[in-house]
Symmetry: C2
Subunit: 302 residues, 2 copies
């Protein structure tokens, strides 16, 4: 096995996170920069700059680099098909990287990469049938079956845009009643702001739930039911053994996970072999996952 250090870069809506890791997955250097406006065409240059800075900080050269992004990604051709947030379509991401870097490069999807990292370095070690659900501003999922991260259509994992409440709140995508419009951290903040008459976020809602506020509990429980409605069929079809919940919302811990376990048990009678647990790598999962993709590239090209 090649033990080169590699760089992983995770492009988010507001920040770009990057890490330089060694062959054991240890982080030797890390850097976060703001996401520029209309970042698509700039990503080659940005990634090359991050690589230089990380190499300088760690005093170690990188043998490969990978960039992961949200939205619709077609890994097999290295093209980021679409991101509403980052305002690109059909961005030839791997090609852009290759133009600015003199090491092997690849690209991928942020949540699928995050799942890969959780499997190698985090809370999914030793489990090969996993659903990873980061709950943040948006909702997307990634699935692993038999130790392989699932990537079919570029729409893979876009469970945030499954309609759970037809005619419900309008989603950023334009449709009504998407899971993301009713159960994301952003949606919970909006619902709690409306209910409480003040500008509130999901963290504040979680506090009110912990104190037993009835209105807060109702909003929370409805979101949990909506999540279970989407997750139960996925878990059932794939025979998922571990549901890893990540993102900002999981910081509320069992306040979220206990009712989610109950809601899933109610939807999946008989199932006794499902574990629901918090993810381990926090907001670094995507960058670490990108590093995993880069490490695989080094191995496959030597």
């Amino acid at each position: 096995m090649d033990r080169s250090a590699v760089v992983g870069v995770d492009v988010g809506g507001t920040r770009i996170k990057s890490v330089l890791v060694d062959g054991d997955g240890e982080v030797l250097a890390a850097k976060v920069v703001p996401t520029p406006s209309r970042p698509g065409p700039k990503l080659g240059r940005v990634a090359a700059g991050l690589r230089r800075d990380l190499e300088d900080e760690a005093g170690v050269p990188a043998g490969a680099l990978a960039v992961v992004v949200p939205g619709l990604v077609e890994e097999v051709v290295g093209i980021a098909r679409w991101s509403a947030n980052l305002r690109w379509s059909d961005l030839p991401l791997t090609q852009l990287l290759a133009e600015h870097l003199d090491v092997p490069v690849t690209s991928g999807h942020d949540v699928r990469a995050g799942l890969l990292a959780e499997h190698r370095l985090g809370a999914a070690r030793g489990v090969d049938d996993v659903v990873f659900l980061p709950l943040g501003t948006g909702i997307a999922a990634a699935q692993m079956t038999g130790g392989q991260v699932v990537a079919g259509s570029p729409w893979s994992g876009e469970v945030g845009h499954v309609v759970v409440r037809p005619g419900g709140p309008v989603c950023g995508c334009g449709a009504a009643g998407c899971l993301e419009a009713v159960a994301s951290a952003a949606a919970l903040g909006r619902a709690w702001s409306t209910a409480s008459g003040e500008e509130r976020d999901a963290e504040h809602l979680a506090g009110a739930v912990a104190q037993g506020d009835p209105a807060a509990v109702q909003i929370w429980q409805q979101a949990v039911e909506d999540l279970a409605l989407v997750l139960a069929p996925v878990i059932s079809a794939a025979g998922t053994r571990l549901l890893l919940v990540g993102g900002g919302l999981v910081l509320s811990g069992d306040l979220l996970l206990d009712p989610l376990r109950s809601a899933l048990a109610a939807r999946l009678p008989g199932r006794t072999d499902l574990e629901v647990a918090p993810a381990a790598l926090g907001d670094r999962a995507g960058a670490l996952g990108a590093a995993c993709l880069a490490a695989d590239l080094v191995r496959s090209t030597r």
Copy 2:
């Protein structure tokens, strides 16, 4: 590639179907026998008998044999964990076969094997991200991602036991409101019998739907909505490109598939790359899939 003929056996609740196929998947002989009562421990002897009869009929020896069964199956250890219908638990299926046969043997799950056959010989040729949903007396699904049939927990594919109508009709499994209790062919026959006041089956219901009977259309449409509620998250999470519907209900063709396409489109806004089509192999899919497993065994052991 080894071109031996092989035997595939599909054990159903009422009938056992078997085929002897050549290296191109052509059926050289086929035989159907009634399923004996409490068939579990008898399956080794039954399979050996079918093999002899099929070899005699075709005049060709079989190089391997596989048996597929419904319920909870753990392929990796060759154990049929549970079937309500066939009344077994923890049946050491592969071992039973090995005790009665002098060729390589293996075992598997009927719907997962059916999907494999549809992928190699039927309506899923050339598509690697597929959900296969046979709608019959019961409901189970199989999933393929990246060309690999998904098998996680033994519960994989048991989407018939996802609760879609909490507090709804009681299912054979004991829970209330399972998909199988509201949208299987058996459930539709029961609902139509109740509505029409006469003993009817799903085929008769389909006839009434085709004639525009309002009560029939309402039952049909509700079942389609329930199916879409379970299928949409699965398709979304895995990036499924092709939904293959099989079983008796699909004989009604676009009468079923058109409203299902509409219901899925309503649940999956933006998705334009999903095809919904009828399966091609009919009630022989399981036996042909078993033959695919046997053929793979021949290749891997030579």
